[in-house]
Structure formats: structure tokens, C-alpha cells
Symmetry: C2
Subunit: 112 residues, 2 copies
DNA sequence: TGTATTGCTACTATAATAGTAGCACAATAA
DNA sequence: TTATTGTGCTACTATTATAGTAGCAATACA
């Protein structure tokens, strides 16, 4: 790695040591941060307040949730609305690719 | 949380403080561990050795990679083959739901 | 003028990961 | 037989991320 920290994905730069810089790895890096997927998922059906999200994201501490929300807003997946946080149009596009995981998880998780 | 650590998802128990226990959250918890998505992705086209995976997963340290592989094997997404690690049938089923993210990332990431 | 709710920030403790070294084993070469 | 090389790890320390808790400023409402 040529850089020290990587708090946020930035144009053209790889993220958190993913090195390759392949788009999918950049995306994976973002999504593999704690509660990132959960936030996107919980915003998919309706806008939610900070504390609502917190409640739905299990034990997410406010500091982490806030960090995650900042990141997701910084990359334009989430935005603020009058009634709380919301998925942006881009966020919704991403969610539509995530959605199939829901059905699959419902079938698979019980088999664990 | 009523339990201390949560090294592996177990039947019927929520994971890493996801509390709700919703299948999708259990899955998200698993996938949001470092390099989990990367491993699945890199195994999708061919089997790979430990060191090959390591190289493809950026700076993944062997200890973490090994932990991740153990977890993914424990839940039956990955298995060992003669020529290294491989996606199981279940793993391939999951990957097919993940795959659309690749195309999307290629369009989206450059806009960051 | 309280009182409650919300969106945070700050701080400490713990868990996860990075980074590095190195060992046991198998295959290959000399 | 003895190197030599490559591979799959394990062990250990340093750093980073997250959990868990407290609390404050702002707004809404009573």
C-alpha cells in the first residue's frame, strides 16, 4: 500500500488495502463495513430516522452508524430527507441488485 | 447481547450482535466480514490455492484469510478440492445472486 | 417552563484485522 | 540422499474498527 489510511473511497484510489482497484473490490470493501448492508437494506422500503436505523441494526453504536451513514452519503448511495435518511436513486439501483439475496437467505439460513 | 463472542454463525442464533436474527441479517453479517465477499468472488471462475487467494485479496493476512475460509467452509459455501479451495454448490447459488453486482460496480465505481 | 425525542459527539474497552516471521509438509531437482 | 522451492498454514504484535455507554444541543410539544 502506498497510502496510510482510507476512511472513504476516493476517485480512482483503491480502498482499505484492496489493492487491485477492481470496481467490484471497491464496492465489496464499502459493503463489508459493519452495518453498511444493513443500512441499505433497512432504507429500501422507507426512510428512517437515525434512531430507527440504530434500532434495526441491532447493537450498532451511534458512532459507527454515523460513520457508516457519512460514508454512504459521501459515495451518493444514501441521502438526507425531511423525514430522515433515504436511499438515493443510485442507492435504489444498488438495492435492486441486492434484493435477490433476501429470498435466498430465507431459504438458506434455516439450513445452517 | 446474551452471548460473549460469535466466531461462527450457528443454527438459530443471531450473529455478531445482529439481534433481529432475520435471515438476511445473518447473511449480511457473514458477508460483511473482511474478504468474505472477495473470496467468494475469486473462487467463482476457478478453484484457487490459499496463496493464490491471498494474492487476489489484496493485503489479506494469512490468519484472517484462514479464519474466513474456515467460516465459509463451516457454513458450506466453500469447500476443499484437490486443486485448492472451491465454491460449493450452495456457494455457486449465492454467487449467482452476487454476480449482478459486478456489472453494476463497473458502471458505478468510475463515477466516484 | 418543563419534558421528551432526536441526531449526534466523545470516550473507553474489546474485537477484528494487518503485517510479519516462520514451521511442517510435499514435490522437485541435484 | 540432500537441497530447494512452494504451499498451507500458525503465532505473535501493532493498528484499526467497532461496541457500549454517557451525555449534550436542538427541536417539538405539553
Amino acid at each position: 500500500m502506498t497510502e496510510g489510511k482510507n476512511p472513504l473511497p476516493k476517485p480512482g484510489s483503491p480502498v482499505r488495502g484492496s489493492q487491485s482497484g477492481q470496481p467490484i473490490m471497491v464496492l465489496f470493501d464499502l459493503l463489508s463495513r459493519r452495518w453498511a448492508l444493513g443500512v441499505l437494506w433497512n432504507l429500501s422500503d422507507q426512510n428512517r430516522t437515525f434512531r430507527d436505523l440504530q434500532a434495526r441494526c441491532g447493537s450498532a453504536s451511534p458512532s459507527v452508524l454515523n460513520t457508516r451513514l457519512k460514508e454512504l452519503r459521501a459515495v451518493g448511495l444514501v441521502e438526507k430527507a425531511a423525514d430522515g435518511y433515504a436511499l438515493s436513486q443510485t442507492g435504489r439501483a444498488l438495492f435492486s441488485r441486492l434484493e435477490p439475496l433476501g429470498d435466498w437467505a430465507m431459504k438458506w439460513v434455516p439450513t445452517l
